[in-house]
């Protein structure tokens, strides 16, 4: 009897995680190990790593999205690889190298289509989420940035070289998307975000000052330029890493936006797109993420200030805390209800877990040069 139990336990340990161990995935996540080309599967409740999925190629700047059942992830690698992994069995399910150089992707609101934004060749390719077979290929003649899923099987993307926004509508015929192209958006869009309600697509410009909002509720979509001359009076500082916009968040009717070439956070009234305040920061902001309760915005930085984090009060716009988790703080991911935050500290090969209120370190996980951290609750959010 005893022997049997021991054997059973041994079997469990020896075999790769079996899906029929019956566990939920709502507290799981994936951490990108960019140099090793692997993913670390983590358990938020245990604050521990469960295992690794290996062999995903060049994962610099990799991002991923989740299937609606929170079991599968689609990983977008720099080398054009699109990989579907099963986080329960911790195995690669399928992998295609679909382009020469990719920057990100999105999954449609019905979970059936996965779109990849490519630099080389420039454009978007759309795949069947089940099989990873190519469904649609939309060349755009430019590097593409800021791809997001909009309600109704649509994808929105901006073009770096040509300054356009393209809306692909796959709702009628997945293979022949209806394309709406908005030209003259501005010089060198470098990233974009879609608000959680799927209405406003906001594009950051590198080639000129200002930002652009596209209102997708209007037909045709309405394009509004805002903050056309922020920082005109200040010298441009070098940008050693492009800001990311996916974390820009609407908090208290305000957008908190990382400035480009200024060490500032810009606060913009979401209703009329006017600037209402600025916060001086410790460096060039990369991510400015609202804690899920929207009470604070957490900011990390480009080199040489990428050892720091700053926490900014949404009501007063003042910096509340400056933290120094360690060298190369690349990404932050909040627990869905905001109780803790996970930080990848690339150059120290670890992920640090902090209480978002006391700021105390709650735990640490070893990881090989970690970058992006992605919890499964992303499966149910629009615009990621």
């Amino acid at each position: 009897m005893m022997l049997k139990a021991t054997l059973a336990a041994l079997l469990l340990i020896a075999s790769p995680a079996l899906a029929d161990e019956l566990r939920g995935t709502g507290d799981l996540g994936l951490i990108v190990e960019r140099e090793a080309g692997s993913l670390l599967v983590v358990d938020r409740s245990e604050r521990a790593a469960l295992g690794r999925i290996e062999g995903l190629g060049d994962l610099s700047h990799a991002s991923l999205v989740y299937s609606p059942d929170e079991r599968f992830a689609y990983v977008f690698g720099r080398d054009g690889g699109l990989t579907k992994v099963d986080i329960l069995t911790r195995q690669m399910v399928r992998r295609v190298v679909q382009a020469g150089n990719s920057i990100g992707g999105a999954i449609s609101d019905d979970g059936r289509l996965v779109a990849v934004a490519n630099y080389e060749p420039g454009g978007v390719k759309v795949f069947d989420a089940e099989t990873l077979e190519l469904v649609a290929d939309v060349p755009m003649g430019s590097k593409t940035v800021g791809i997001a899923d909009a309600p109704g099987s649509r994808f929105v993307v901006a073009t770096w070289d040509t300054g356009e926004v393209w809306i692909l509508d796959h709702s009628t015929d997945a293979a022949q998307p209806a394309v709406t192209k908005l030209e003259g958006i501005g010089a060198n869009p470098y990233d974009a975000l879609l608000t959680g309600d799927g209405r406003h697509y906001i594009v950051g410009l590198f080639g000129e000052k200002g930002l652009v909002q596209v209102d997708l509720w209007q037909d045709p979509p309405k394009v509004t330029r805002f903050l056309p001359d922020y920082g005109k009076d200040l010298p441009d500082l070098p940008v050693y890493k492009m800001p990311h916009l996916q974390g820009w968040t609407l908090a208290e009717g305000l957008f908190a936006l990382p400035a480009v070439g200024l060490h500032q956070l810009l606060w913009v009234d979401a209703a009329d797109l006017t600037e209402i305040a600025r916060t001086d920061l410790a460096g060039q902001p990369v991510f400015a993420l609202a804690r899920p309760d929207k009470r604070e915005v957490w900011v990390n930085f480009a080199p040489p200030d990428n050892d720091k984090l700053q926490v900014v009060d949404v009501l007063t716009h003042e910096v509340l805390d400056t933290l120094t988790p360690g060298k190369g703080v690349l990404h932050m991911e909040f627990a869905p209800r905001g109780r803790e935050v996970w930080l990848s500290v690339r150059d120290e090969d670890r992920v640090e877990i902090r209480d978002t209120r006391t700021r105390e370190v709650l735990g640490e996980i070893e990881a090989r040069a970690p970058s992006g951290i992605f919890f499964t609750d992303r499966a149910h959010r629009t615009g990621l």
């Binding site: 700047h61 920057i103 492009m242």
Partner: protein, 103 residues
């Protein structure tokens, strides 16, 4: 004129400092991989920025490249790294890029 200033600065830099020591070389290799890699790719095969593998840079020289590293390329997203690097370090990186086979 700018070119002359750069040349003088380069010469001055060479006279004052020396080539980076072994520890600093490690840091510079790390910087190339991680920070240049932000735009040019971890394997330097390109991203928002163009590929900067030895093959892609064939025909360029150290002076030319170290100038780009230090002062950036106006009108593009390439920033000048002068606030973070000495001229000798930029030359070391230029040479490293031109002579290292990336995987």
């Amino acid at each position: 004129m700018a070119r002359l200033a750069l040349l003088l600065a380069l010469l001055a830099g060479t006279a004052v400092a020396g080539p980076p020591d072994a520890a600093r070389q490690d840091q510079l290799r790390h910087l190339v991989r991680q920070d240049c890699g932000s735009c040019h790719g971890l394997r330097l095969t390109g991203g928002l920025g163009r590929p900067i593998t030895a093959g892609a840079l064939a025909g360029r020289d150290v002076d030319d490249l170290s100038g780009v590293i230090l002062d950036g390329m106006p009108g593009t997203a390439m920033p000048g790294w002068r606030p973070l690097l000495t001229e000798d370090e930029a030359r070391w990186i230029a040479d490293y890029l031109l002579t290292t086979e990336t995987e």
